[in-house]
Symmetry: C2
Amino acid sequence: MTTLQNVVSELATGRLRIVDLTAPLSEQTPVLQLPEPFANTATFQMETISAFDAAGPAWAWSNITLGEHTGTHLDAPIHWITGKDGKAVHQIEPERLIGPAVVIDLSAEAAANPDVLLEPEHFEAWEAQHGPLPHNCWVLLRTGWSERNTDAQRFLNADENGPHTPGPSVACARWMAEHPAVSGFGVETVGIDAGAAGGFEPGFPMHHYLLGNDRYGLTSLINLDQLPASGAVLVVAPLPIVGGTGSPARVYALVESA
Amino acid sequence: MTTLQNVVSELATGRLRIVDLTAPLSEQTPVLQLPEPFANTATFQMETISAFDAAGPAWAWSNITLGEHTGTHLDAPIHWITGKDGKAVHQIEPERLIGPAVVIDLSAEAAANPDVLLEPEHFEAWEAQHGPLPHNCWVLLRTGWSERNTDAQRFLNADENGPHTPGPSVACARWMAEHPAVSGFGVETVGIDAGAAGGFEPGFPMHHYLLGNDRYGLTSLINLDQLPASGAVLVVAPLPIVGGTGSPARVYALVESA
Ligand SMILES: [Mn+2]
Ligand SMILES: [Mn+2]
């Protein structure tokens, strides 16, 4: 049997499982809150066109408004000033959007300290267990943070000093962005940078380095706790918005059943 | 090696290829045009939030407005009156969205006659060549129609009698919707019914039977001519809009290289 025949057959038997990493999209979906004078993204809104009525007797449908960066979404290079000559979301090759998932679990650390930073030594520990980072991998930072995603206040976790959410250190951002095997970086939080990263040097280093190096970001993921540390295959599916700086995305992971 | 390891390895070597079946999403994306008194879906619109300026010095991003049924998109059961007690798009199990693709080619017929109808005998011919329809398959009607998708007038192909585009006959719509192996039906045209189907009995029979039978539709696909008649694996990725009657979707096909 070919690999594709095996995929189909194992999905049917349950030997291969699909884990949906996408947060449901609704008016409750929390979005990033930037302070003045910065402008903020729209939240998700839906407006009925018709619903089994005179305007459409046998059908129902709606229009939607949202930001490119609302909910589970992908950041493309042109979202950041360091990547402004890079690819828009519609230009990202699908080959970069399907690849092995590297899951690094900092959920215990994040529960104790919401400002915990991902560091290169976390990758040393992962590689000691699982071998070198696989080619074209997506690094997924598991923090348990998705549990907060129905409560914008807890999800953004801001106080008078700003948001407190996990993310990469400056050194780690640069390390990941320059690593030949890393294709993208995904998180459970609202953005690929730590909540405190506005004050880092450079500010928002993961955006700065990743998007400036033709790598891509994914935010507001869920169900990372259902993935093995190594072995899952990620399927990232943003809408091909022409000239888009990003897009809401459906994200699946394929995993071998235990 | 496991199946997932083979998937990753074969994607890297090119033995497995990804074909993107999704039309680029922009203000040029054509949408269905219903006559009065019916209400129409929004077209795709984009509005800049900020672009490396005072409102966002290091980043650029936009808000978007569109319909659930704009561009390459999925129809969920609750879109139609026959499926109104069925699933919304966010409730469709991912297992139904990844499966074998059955590609039926009527592009020669459609070039000669834009009102050509898909009939059960087309499936008899396909099965004679490729065996029984595989479990959980997505039937994809290839017509070459996607070549018209940058020109709304040619894409919708309407005259004083209405639109003239290919689609299933009433008998075929019912046959597909009741077939135990068929999970969904996808087309290159703007909708899963033929252009003339408003006058069929029942009207819009593919919507009527498919969505009324917990099967799903896909429209405005491209690149079906890059797929084999049998053997490709479809990955359908709509946004999980809560309560949505459908959603814009990214659609990939995995194919074995020749
Ligand atoms: Mn973003
Ligand atoms: Mn539709």
